[in-house]
């Protein structure tokens, strides 16, 4: 059983549909007992990182999430809140699992913000990217990013800026892109996560 953490941060429908297409069983929950016992945990998230932290704190989830030992996947803002902090929410400590700080892309000619659309994965490491070819396209929608750091396990280049497309620390994984929206490549990445 996969626990999808429900903390009121965006629509979960596309993630549910993607897991349905893979035949996975999941529940959407914010109950600590269920999250603790799940085989896998997914922390999704669309929206503001500060609000995401607020909602996690309100549900008393930060310590619980940090203590998880099963594979955990943060997606998009779910990945960002697993980092140290975010420029989107100055002064708010995030979960601090990944040793990265979240910065904002500066709009410039040739660098529209949000970074929206299909971009290439590079420098992929580990089982999450099993059978994924270098240069594969995945779908991104974000205005903030994690720079390169020791936890980086996949990179992406946007308008000359290299950033972390994925992070990993021990049992924690995070993708800045949306595997649930990334066609067959995303499906393979989700399958790989489920197989961890």
């Amino acid at each position: 059983m996969i626990a999808i953490i429900d903390y009121d941060m965006g629509n979960l429908r596309s993630l549910e549909n993607a897991l349905d297409r893979l035949g996975a069983t999941y529940c959407i929950t914010s109950a600590p007992s269920i999250i603790k016992q799940a085989d896998k945990v997914i922390l999704p998230g669309v929206g503001h990182a500060g609000l995401a932290m607020e909602n996690l704190i309100e549900r008393e989830l930060p310590d619980l999430i940090r203590s998880l030992r099963q594979p955990v996947l943060g997606i998009c803002v779910g990945m960002q809140v697993l980092c140290r902090d975010s420029e989107e929410a100055p002064g708010v400590p995030c979960l601090g699992v990944f040793d990265a700080r979240i910065r904002r892309f500066s709009p410039a000619p040739g660098c529209k913000v949000p970074h929206m659309g299909w971009n290439n994965l590079g420098n992929m490491e580990g089982k999450l990217f099993k059978d994924i070819e270098s240069g594969s396209h995945v779908y991104f929608v974000h205005s903030y990013y994690a720079g390169l750091c020791p936890d980086t396990v996949a990179t992406c280049n946007y308008a000359g800026k290299m950033f972390s497309a994925a992070l990993r620390y021990e049992n924690f994984y995070g993708t800045q892109f949306h595997p649930e929206k990334s066609c067959s490549v995303g499906e393979q990445i989700l399958k790989n996560f489920l197989a961890l």
Partner: protein, 252 residues
């Protein structure tokens, strides 16, 4: 490198995909979910479904259709047509849409952009602008398929929409839409330079060369097209292959 997106657009009336020239003379071109799935398999980067039903019954059919699309398709899709309130947007989000487009309702009440963007994020809101060039050379937004003029000038309205929280601008030239005569590239280039958010070009593609032009000379981040795909003139895969051969970054 960020790929330029190719986005087939499906106009939906009572659950069926239709296409007409300048919104007139509609023809049935297929089932909305099946056609969407076909485009996704061919390599479409996103899909847009526009509800052009005029009746309440048609609108309800559309919401059901959106959830069927969300179940069947593993790429992002945008829905639009008749969204007038935060509630309308919420219903489509709940059905599984990744983004919504606002058009005449945003012109009538620009605060709607803020209301939806502040609740669901900038990435959820695409503001569509159907504009026509006037005798003085200024491009003015229109509503009702180009038939009603407004007092909104294209560039200032697009920038206002961006400031109010739009995540993308979808600009259709009503002078070119459905004509297959190509896009007004200089206007696109100027608009793209004026915006810090992505610009989607729409209406007028008759050939791959037209699409290539608007993505390069026109500096658009994505191209939306309907007729060239619906009538089987090109498949999405053919278009993307030819764009790649022309040196344009696309997802193959």
């Amino acid at each position: 490198m960020l790929a330029k997106r190719i986005i087939p657009c499906l106009d939906v009336k009572d659950g069926r995909v239709v296409k007409g020239i300048n919104f007139q003379g509609l023809q049935d071109v297929g089932d909305a979910v099946e056609l969407g799935r076909k485009y996704a398999l061919e390599g479409a980067d996103e899909l847009v479904y526009l509800d052009i039903s005029a009746t309440l019954e048609g609108r309800n059919t559309f919401a059901v259709l959106v959830s069927r699309v969300a179940e069947a398709i593993n790429i992002p899709f945008t829905v639009g047509g008749g969204i007038r309130s935060l509630d309308d947007a919420s219903r489509l989000l709940d059905a599984g849409a990744d983004k919504i487009t606002l058009n005449s309702a945003a012109i009538a009440r620009p605060q709607l952009i803020e209301e939806i963007a502040s609740k669901y994020g900038r990435q959820f809101v695409v503001v569509a602008i159907d504009a026509k060039s006037g005798p003085d050379g200024r491009w003015m937004a229109t509503t009702h398929g180009g038939s009603r003029p407004t007092d909104k000038e294209l560039f200032s309205w697009a920038k206002e929409a961006q400031e109010r929280g739009a995540g993308e601008i979808l600009f259709t030239s009503m002078d070119h839409d459905g004509t297959r005569a190509g896009y007004p590239c200089p206007v696109y280039a100027a608009l793209s330079d004026a915006l810090s958010i992505p610009l989607i070009a729409s209406g007028g593609a008759g050939s791959v060369a037209d699409i290539a032009a608007v993505l390069t000379i026109g500096k658009a981040d994505a191209a939306l097209a309907a007729s060239i795909f619906h009538y089987g003139q090109y498949t999405v895969a053919q278009v993307k292959k030819e764009l790649a051969q022309a040196g344009i970054p696309v997802r193959l």
